[in-house]
Structures are given as C-alpha cells and as structure tokens.
Symmetry: C2
Amino acid sequence: MKVDIKKVAEKAGVSIATVSRVFSNSDLVRQPTKDKVLKISKELNYIPNPIARSLSRQLTDTIGVVLPDLVGEFFMDIIHGIDEEAYKQNWFVLVSSSHSKRNILETLIEFMGSGRVDGVILMAPQIDERINEIIRKSKRPIVLINAGGDTNNNANFKVDNFQGAYTIVEHLIQNHSYKIIGMVEGPKDNYDAIDRSNGYYKALQKYGLNKNGSMVVPGDFSVEGGYHGFKKLISNKVKPDAIFMANDMMAVGAYQAAKELKIRIPEDIALVGFDDIYLSQFLHPRLTTVHVPIAELGSKAVIHLLGMIKDKKLKKKSFVEILSTCLVIGGSCGCA
Amino acid sequence: MKVDIKKVAEKAGVSIATVSRVFSNSDLVRQPTKDKVLKISKELNYIPNPIARSLSRQLTDTIGVVLPDLVGEFFMDIIHGIDEEAYKQNWFVLVSSSHSKRNILETLIEFMGSGRVDGVILMAPQIDERINEIIRKSKRPIVLINAGGDTNNNANFKVDNFQGAYTIVEHLIQNHSYKIIGMVEGPKDNYDAIDRSNGYYKALQKYGLNKNGSMVVPGDFSVEGGYHGFKKLISNKVKPDAIFMANDMMAVGAYQAAKELKIRIPEDIALVGFDDIYLSQFLHPRLTTVHVPIAELGSKAVIHLLGMIKDKKLKKKSFVEILSTCLVIGGSCGCA
DNA sequence: CTGAAAGCGCTTACAG
DNA sequence: CTGAAAGCGCTTACAG
C-alpha cells in the first residue's frame, strides 16, 4: 500500500540515492535514468515524504505566520499575499493567530523553538522585551510586519503611516481650505496610531494651523471609539471644519454619530479616515481615506524571509522597508 | 549549540528512551526520573523536534485547511474557529487558499498525498468528480465544510440555507404581510444559492403566494449583481413589496441602487439578505438578514476531523451536520 | 520502571 | 553518473 523510496528504487533497478537525486532535481543523474525513475514513480503514485525530507535536510520548506487577534479586515489580505508568494516559491504556510486561548508569545516560542518552520513572519503591533529576546535567541530568521517598539536588528516591513496621515490632512487643507481640523486618535500605545497623529500634527504645522486649527480627542480604533470621539469633537463650542479619524473603523462610528445628530457629511463637516477597509467604499458618501497595501506587505515579507533563509548573511542585517500608501478620494472630504 | 534528546539523556544520566517517554507523558517513568529529566531539559532549553517525532510516529499533529478564493468576509472567522479549536487540542494548522496561482485541486493533492498533514478540512463550494476521486484514494480523513455536489460518503458540516431562507421570507409574509416578494438569486451552480432559492419558494408556497407573489431575477452573489438585480425587479410594472437578496453582498448593491433611484428602504420597499456579514450592520437601515455560524462551522469541523484521525472507525462513516442559522432583525424589513 | 536497538523515509559526503 | 552507508532526532516493541 504505502509506497516509499525503496519500493521505487527496487522497481526501477536503481539505488534509493538515485531516486532521491531525481526528485531533488540533481544534475548528477543521466536523463535515461531520470526518465525511468520518473515513470516508475508515476506508476506507483510515489510522492517523496516531506517529513522525512525535512528531518534529513533540517529544512521544512514551511514558514510560520503569527498574527495578532484583531486584524479583522486585513486578515484575509495578509494571508493571501503571503500564501500566494509562498506558493510561487513552493513553500508552505503554517498560520497561527493569537486568540482567546493563546497569545503571540507562546506561538512564537513554539515556532521559533521547534523545527517546525524555517522562518517566521510576525505581525505584532508592539514588540516587547520578551518577544525581542525570543527573536534574539532563535537561530531562525524572522521578518516583522508593521511592528512597533524596538524593532532594531530585525527585518521590518511597514506602512508609511506618517506620510499617509500627512497627505490626507494636507488634502483637507490645500484642496478644501478647511481651517480647523479635528482628529480622533488611535490607542496611545499603538505605533501605527502614533505615527498617524504625528503626520496630522506635521501637516497642520506646515500650513500654520497648529495653533488654533488643531483639536484632538483620544480614540481606540474601534467603531464605538469613533462614535464617541466624533460626538466629543462636535460638541465643542468651536466646531471643526473637518475631522481626521485615525482609522476607518472609527470613521464608521463617526458616520453613525453624524446620522444620529443629523449632521451631514461633508456639507456640515468633512470626514476622512485611514486604512481603506473594504467597508469604507460602501459608506455614503464614500469615505476619503488612505489605502494601505496589505497584500503587498505580506508578499514582500515572504520574499525577504525566503532570502534570509537561503542566504545566512542576510540574516544578520537589519532591514526596513516602508511601503507607501495612497490617497483614496471619496465624497466625505468635500470632493465631488 | 543544538540540543537534542541525546544531550539531555546524557546530562540526566538516563537513556534517550526515557527522555522520550517523559516528553510524551508516558506513565512508565518514575516521578523522580521525570523531574530530573524535566529539570535538565529546562536548563538546556530542550524542545523535542516535532519533525523527528512526526517521522517516527507517522503523525504530524497538523491539519490542512483548504479554502476557496472567494470567502472574503468569512475567511477570518473560519480560520479563527479552526485555529482556536486546533490549538486547544495542541494541533497545528497548515492553511492554503486557492488563488491566482493555484487551484483547490492541486492543494488537495499536495496535502492528501504527502505526509504533511494528518487530515484536511476542505471548503469547496462544489465537489467535482476529480476532487471526489482524490478524497476516495487518500487514506487521510477529510471533513467538508459547506460543500456542494456529491458529498456522500464524506463527513460534512453545512449551514441550513434552506431553513434560513424559508424563515426570513416567512418573516416578510407573516410579520409584515407583504404580498409580492421578489428575489435576486445567487449563482446557478452554487449549492448554497440553490438551497436559498428553494427556501424562498417553499415559504411563498406555504402562504399561497407562489402564484402571483413571486418575482425572481438571477444574480451572482456580487455587489454589482445585487445592484442590477434590484433595478431589474424595481423596473417591473408590478413592484414587489419586499425583496430577498440571496446574500448580503448583493443586498449592499441593492442599497446603492435604491439610493441612486431615491427609493427608500423599507418605506418604499423592504429588503432582506443572507449571511450577516460584518458590513450589514452598518447599512442604513441595518439589514435584516440570516446569521451564519461560520466560526462554529470551523471548530466543529476540527473536532470531527480530530475524532476521525484518532478513531479510524469514524473515518469510514459518512456524516452530515447541518448548523442552523438565526434571523437577525434590522430595520430594512420594516421592523422598528 | 528502564535501556538497547530497530525503524520512520529521506539526503548527501564519500568512494568508485 | 551511481551506490553503500551514515545520519537527521525521535518513538516504541521487546527484553529485563
């Protein structure tokens, strides 16, 4: 029943070494021999056992992907980007997201410590010292996606949150001449959020609006957070002309609040977001926001990781690539 | 540097057999011996190599998950359901979705043929003969999620599309007394879609509306499909009182069309959907729809699959569980 | 309760 | 170009 390399070798009248060479595409085998082995293999329905191969080569052809719990909207895009690229190069993807039963740390230890994967892609909103220690101790390469905290001495792929925020706020100022621009920020300890806030401040400063044109309230990247943040801004004696929500989910909450208060977007107040989540195109008017290249982040991470696995030298180098975002114009900012 | 079972055995003054037994929690080891081994292991930072373990046991503790390309909204929920349950039982998840570079068939062959996984969960909208053949030939167990086509002799977990559709249409008839109920159907070759259509017809029939109260146009589960389907229904001389969109994505398209035509929902026409996708709660008014227990589908599939892996007898039995859906009432049907 | 040894199915340096 | 043999790091039936 079970057909292994021995059976193929026997039938083909060669040694298992030769069969092995045929399947690893060694050029040490003559074409006729190769043909014969391949023919027999087909007949017997032989597929080399990847586990045995892994044990022998000390390589698994598998990468581990560790994701945080809350990536919701992005989840599929990331996995797709990773999966597609990995497949192109004939690698497998072991996925693990943190959830109620498990945290990132555990998963990382499991992946890095065992021989189950040859490298890992880690998406962690925040790298703490314990995580850094695991990374340092491990001999397996790791690539960070959108990581915050101390990410030195690692390979990093990030999104240009600062520039994205700067650009969209600049759009509000330059194209629409809004004078007072409010912002509902993201979580204080989230690095994406911090960079977005910085981009906002920078744009205001550039156009001299930082003194009287700024109005900031805290938020948390959730729909409810956006709902309350919007209400808070709107209840100010001086009303903002426009509001920059630090992410689209909060913008959704803002739409709800506006609806409730019968405030029209963009007639009464302009609104913009960040992320370009799927949902944002269905808001009315369509949300003006910043597009984030999620799938690309995934595929770039894979390419780099495989490079690190193949070339040990690369592993030592720290590396950062910041992917640029692009503005998505909808009607919510006041554009036609 | 590399610490293996030998090193631990040596340091602990026992044989590798004993170390192995300690880590597989055999009760054949005395507590003091166990303690000593565990202590040394901690010191040396020893983790048993899962690949070697797999080769020896002929088990990988890994399940493969094969998903179609287009599950968008559900993707994360399914993976989460599967991942969480698998983790509870200490299993790993190898994910693979079909995409531009790969189809379901290839992935399935790869998973089933090689020794990379002990079983697979397959979500295929349609099982064709080639897929069935692969399943039949493989000695590894497989569980089907929401599969269509000939799924006999397999383990299946499905959603009760028929009942869900029946219930929501019945709601339109019973609670709102609508007399003419249109429907935009899903793809002709999609089994979910077919069952939903059947539920719709059954409800109309039950209440004697099948003669004059039915109005059906084709659709394709896409936003655009819903947009055009809605327009087509609305352009009829006799207008429907309510429309059942075969899925929420199409309902989104219907909202867009309604907005454009200045048709109010539900005042001018009631609208309901199916799936309860994340987005549907943000439509105005909130979409009345049918909730589908996606994560549960995933976790149930895992539980059953692991059962099949552990108990070979189970593997032979065909099995179907149909998870029931529930009605989610929003404002779009005319409810307060 | 513990150990020596065979075996899981491959890869690859070495010898020819 | 090909083969015999050691080795990858475990598990487990067998013997004690």
